[in-house]
């Protein structure tokens, strides 16, 4: 029995763990505060959530240059962690702002909503910040459980419940595969720690060892489910469609980023870049994901479903970066994820604002003529659509340029060509939204917009970032590269 030393934390570690501590504490505080009745319609929970997320981000930001491996690598604090923690906090904050009014008007204004949102964010951070498969698994489950409940939060609502059931059953099913994959990897390498796995592999590369390869593949399957890659994507449209729209916004950005974060960390740290066997597999998945996502989106009339398929397609573009592999590929993926998160949050954010009171308007045709009646909504939606379609001068364009550039550098010309064709196809359905906004007259009752200050703030922030990163992408790119370089 080798004695294991008790973990020793230095002061810096507390800063590094700040996000985790703050989010846990914030979630519990929110629950405890339920004992103190608030005024009806109080924004206490939302404000506290924002505060918690701000503190989390600040703590990690303070320690952004530190490189620490805490609890024997169960929690690592490196550039990668900092990047994703800040991203998740931002996603969480924007989601809180979008939820602020939405949860009230749809009748799900409970403190638990924010508790779950904070916990899911915590799960994402844990997924991105760990060098051990155990912690990654626990983080993933923490995120997933939170999301299952959030998706089904409108519990008297048939669609919401149906979405939760589908997401839950398939999510648990996928977890089974993921877990079996981890078991096989553990069997092949004797450890669940990514760094030790890397050390073991450098001594005895397990090329062709069925246990190792199969384990890796099953692991990939599990993460592919979370990022909604074809053919593990089928839950996505239904879950996104049925969930409360603010939750859809949150999960479409956060869960995908978290899935990719874990995949990247496992790939880069443990497997020393993506293993060679994965190349063709990832390529095939990337091609399928882009194509199926974009083509299926073409005929969608429901905005949420359309954006769901679009989010599948975007996972495909990010997979192209992963196929390219190496640090360049990883930094392209990080860059794209950040860009994607905000433009997608913005697009879903607008959907949260459509309709008054309990009424929700989610059809593309509901946008008819809205561009003139509500110029801000029209302008913002147009920018998000242009960006999602990868048209300059928006962030989405820069994301695609960088991903394709990296892929070309890795000699993946066919993959890039398919990617380009796909992004051209995608413009057609993004454009339909713009056409509806500016070139159609509403049939029947025109859509009202529920204006609320927090949602407008969220909209402006996402809009500004989408434009800013389209014009000045360099800083974010440097940040993404630095994050990948500092991988512990």
């Amino acid at each position: 029995m080798t004695p294991v030393p008790a973990p020793q934390l230095i002061a810096l570690d507390w800063w590094a763990l700040g996000a985790v501590i703050a989010l846990s504490a914030g979630a519990m505080l929110l629950l405890l505060l339920e004992f103190v009745p608030a005024k009806p319609g109080s924004s206490r929970a939302a404000v506290l959530s924002l505060l918690t997320l701000a503190i989390s981000a600040a703590a990690v930001f303070v320690a952004r240059d530190a490189r620490r491996s805490i609890f024997d690598g169960m929690f690592v604090h490196d550039g990668f962690t900092v990047f994703f923690t800040l991203l998740f906090c931002a996603i969480g904050a924007v989601s809180v702002l979008l939820s602020w009014d939405y949860v009230r008007r749809t009748g799900i204004h409970h403190a638990e909503y924010y508790v779950l949102l904070l916990c899911a964010t915590l799960g994402m951070i844990v997924m991105a910040a760990s060098n051990d498969l155990i912690t990654i698994f626990v983080g993933l489950e923490l995120m997933s459980l939170g999301l299952y409940v959030l998706v089904g939060f409108r519990r008297a609502h048939l669609e919401s419940n149906e979405a939760a059931l589908k997401y839950f059953l398939l999510g648990a099913f996928a977890s089974g595969f993921l877990l079996y994959g981890i078991a096989l990897l553990y069997g092949a390498t004797g450890t669940t720690s990514l760094t030790r796995m890397a050390a073991f592999l450098s001594e005895s590369p397990l090329r062709g060892n069925p246990m190792f390869v199969a384990g890796g593949l099953l692991l990939l399957t599990g993460f592919a489910f979370k990022v909604a890659a074809v053919p593990f994507h089928m839950w996505t449209p239904d879950a996104y469609d049925g969930a409360p729209t603010s939750v859809t916004a949150f999960m479409s950005a956060g869960a995908k980023a978290a899935g990719f974060a874990a995949l990247l960390r496992v790939g880069l740290t443990a497997l020393g870049g993506m293993p060679a066997e994965w190349g063709p597999i990832l390529s095939a998945i990337a091609i399928l994901t882009m194509t199926v996502g974009n083509v299926t989106a073409l005929l969608q009339t429901n905005l949420k479903r359309m954006l769901a398929y679009s989010s599948i397609a975007h996972a495909g573009y990010i997979l192209v970066a992963l196929v390219a592999g190496g640090r360049d590929g990883a930094s392209a993926a990080l860059f794209y994820l950040a860009v994607y998160s905000f433009m997608n949050l913005g697009a879903f954010g607008i959907v949260t604002m459509l309709g008054r009171g309990r009424e929700e308007r989610v059809l593309v045709s509901d946008l008819a003529g809205l561009g003139f009646r509500q110029p801000l909504v029209g302008l913002a939606m147009t920018v998000f659509m242009i960006s999602l379609g990868g048209i300059p001068p928006t962030a989405g364009f820069m994301g695609k340029v960088y991903v394709f550039k990296v892929a070309l550098g890795a000699g993946l010309v066919p993959l890039v060509i398919i990617g380009v064709l796909n992004s051209v196809v995608s413009v057609f359905y993004y454009l339909r939204v713009t056409v509806a906004l500016y070139m159609q007259e509403p049939q029947g009752e025109p859509t009202e917009v529920s204006w609320a200050a927090p949602a407008v703030v969220a909209l402006l922030v996402t809009l500004a970032l989408t434009l800013w990163w389209g014009i000045q992408a360099h800083d974010l790119l440097l940040e993404a590269q630095r994050s990948v370089m500092g991988l512990l």
Partner: protein, 635 residues
């Protein structure tokens, strides 16, 4: 200070967005025109400074900032002023300014006045970015930007279903072209390692062997992009439909500037095209074919703007023809003169339409000359210019293209070009006669409201008319060492202009012969038009009946009449119509729609998989896992 040129219209856009509501109509108009006018002045100053530099150093770049830098790859927002982009910048800002001024009058009564100038300024920004970019990526930004603005402006009167439909068509066709552009760009980057013009062109001769598959593919793909933007076969159909937009838009975007972007791109990348003879041949043939084809369709159109639209397609064909035979200077020269006279034609047509309370059908015009004296005079100048009558601007540039084609040995291309000249002269004078001469065929209401346009519209017409007369004088033929315009562009096309060398290989006498021939051909077209449309068109039929029993010497005349009845009237009209009806509306539209249907079909099939049942989803998940394992087993 180069960045100021595109930045000025952009600033106007932002100001319009922010405070446009408080400025009122007049303020918005002043803002829009002022920004573009100022941009013109800045561009002029920059070009004068450029001209002061020694010839070899006439390249100024202005890097605003770095967009992204990854290792050896860098994308800069960086502007380039060399003789080529100088010409483009001056044309775009100059003609753009005039059209802005004209629009203040033309759109005066439109409810969406502010939105119109917003789009128009945004277009100027994008177009200037396109022509002044110093790398492909930034050019692509402008390329997409002008496409977006074009789309917005075609659908400007979106309540008309035809306008929305036309916008959609333009968009789809342009996206097909864009695929080519993007893929071409990717290939250039993958092999050439850079998207910066200077760097790429410097390494190109070392990286790409002459005639190699890579460079041929890349240039053909780029050319596909150009055919989309510049409305060449087979991607031209969107342009005639684009006439749904307001007329100043047709003048600015769909005649003078945006549609020439493809020509500019080919000229800009001439270094690459010259490495790919097959691509150059393709460019020449597509250009020549489009020139004739579109002209023939133009013969039978009755909508004044559609005639001009097909004429634009045809003239763009000439520019590509020039590039294809290696005479890039001639192509850019024609681009410039065309910008003057075609903008003038559209603005004149707009003035007519404006005067007739939105009547666009040539059959309901006629006899307008005395009623609209200014419009008539300027239109006549433009018509003479496009027909290629000396000393109007179009003559010089078109003649240079034709003699370059002849000199390059592409006789077939040259003959096609000549055929285009006669048709151009014919249909343009048909338009002129039907609109301005003969008996008025106006509706009562149009007659009642008939008025000459306000000065804000007439002044730009007059300026453009002056340019259409004088613009060609910068490039008279047969100058020792090339004419002034060629000398100006020489630093850009230096070493590449093999046609220029060939040009002088043609003896002086042949040169004169060619000039005479093209003028005679143009005059023949004009004469035919007067004959058919002004002197009673029924004459042909009656003459034939009367002559049937006459002297054998008259048979020859009969034969001529019959010929012209069969060819010029029935045959040409018939062919043009069937071309338009069948090819245009069935084949090309069908193909465009077909692509859409195929994808929608796929989409419908894929949606079937999304059954909504958890069982199905789990099954596909498992199938995915099984497929992955099968893949493993194969290794």
């Amino acid at each position: 200070m180069l960045w100021l040129i595109p930045a000025l219209p952009l600033a106007a856009v932002l100001l319009n967005l922010l405070v446009g509501g408080r400025l009122g109509r007049k303020g918005v108009g002043w803002l829009a025109c002022g920004a573009v006018g100022l941009a013109f002045l800045v561009a002029l100053r920059a070009v004068l400074r450029l001209a002061a530099l020694p010839e070899a150093q006439r390249t100024v770049t202005d890097t605003v900032y770095t967009w992204m830098r990854v290792g050896d790859f860098s994308a800069d927002v960086s502007f380039l002023l060399d003789p080529l982009s100088a010409v483009m910048a001056l044309v775009v800002t100059g003609v753009g300014f005039l059209i802005h001024v004209y629009s203040t009058g033309y759109m005066a009564h439109d409810a969406s006045y502010r939105r119109f100038f917003l789009y128009l300024n945004l277009f100027m920004f994008a177009m200037l970015t396109l022509v002044m970019a110093d790398n492909f990526l930034l050019m692509f930004v402008g390329w997409e930007g002008v496409g977006l603005c074009s789309y917005l402006l075609i659908g400007f009167w979106y309540t008309r279903p035809s306008a929305a439909e036309a916008g959609k068509k333009a968009f789809i066709v342009n996206r097909i072209g864009d695929v080519g552009f993007i893929l071409g760009m990717l290939i250039l980057f993958a092999w050439g390692g850079s998207l910066n013009y200077a760097r790429l062109f410097a390494v190109a001769p070392h990286v790409f062997a002459v005639g190699s598959t890579v460079i041929t593919t890349a240039t053909l793909l780029l050319f596909l992009g150009a055919t989309g933007k510049s409305a060449q076969l087979p991607l031209y159909t969107w342009l005639p439909d684009a006439m749904e937009g307001p007329t100043p838009v047709s003048a600015l975007i769909h005649a003078a500037t945006m549609v020439t972007a493809g020509v500019y791109m080919v000229a800009r990348t001439h270094v690459l095209f010259q490495l790919a003879p097959v691509s150059l041949q393709t460019v020449a043939w597509i250009g020549a074919a489009t020139a004739v084809f579109a002209a023939s369709i133009g013969l039978a159109q009755n909508d004044i703007k559609r005639v001009l639209a097909y004429s634009t397609v045809s003239q763009l064909g000439y520019m590509f023809m020039a590039c294809g035979v290696g005479a890039f200077t001639a192509g850019i020269f024609h681009l410039m003169t065309h910008a003057f006279f075609k903008a003038l034609l559209f603005l004149g047509a707009g003035s007519v339409i404006h005067a007739l309370s939105d009547e666009q059908d040539l059959r309901r015009m006629g006899g307008l000359a005395p009623r609209l004296p200014w419009t008539h005079a300027t239109m006549l100048v433009a018509t003479l210019a496009i027909a290629g009558i000396p000393p109007f601007a179009g003559f010089f540039s078109k003649d240079e293209i034709l003699s370059s084609a002849f000199a390059s040995g592409n006789t077939a291309v040259w003959i096609l070009g000549l055929a285009g000249v006669v048709m151009t002269a014919f249909y343009m004078f048909r338009l002129y006669i039907l609109a301005f001469r003969g008996q008025p065929r106006l509706s009562h209401e149009a007659e009642h409201h008939l008025h000459e346009s306000p000065p804000s519209m007439i002044v730009p017409l007059a300026v453009l008319a002056a340019l259409s007369v004088l613009g060609g004088l910068v490039g008279p033929p047969m100058q020792e060492g090339g004419h002034a315009f060629a000398r100006w562009l020489a630093p850009v096309f230096a070493g590449g202009e093999h046609a220029a060398a060939a040009h002088h290989a043609v003896p002086m006498a042949v040169e004169w012969g060619l000039i005479a021939l093209s003028v005679v051909v143009a005059l023949a077209g004009i004469g035919l038009a007067f004959r058919v449309y002004l002197q009673d068109p029924g004459a042909a039929t009656r003459l034939r009946e009367r002559l049937s029993g006459l002297h054998r010497t008259l048979l020859h005349k009969y034969w001529v009449d019959e010929l012209y009845d069969a060819t010029a009237v029935r045959f040409v009209h018939g062919t043009a119509r069937s071309f338009w009806r069948f090819w245009d509306t069935k084949v090309v539209d069908g193909a465009v729609n077909g692509v859409g249907y195929v994808f929608e079909g796929f989409s419908a099939v894929l949606r079937l998989f999304q059954t909504g049942f958890v069982g199905t989803y789990a099954l596909f998940f498992t199938l995915g896992v099984a497929a992955l394992f099968l893949h493993l087993l194969r290794h």
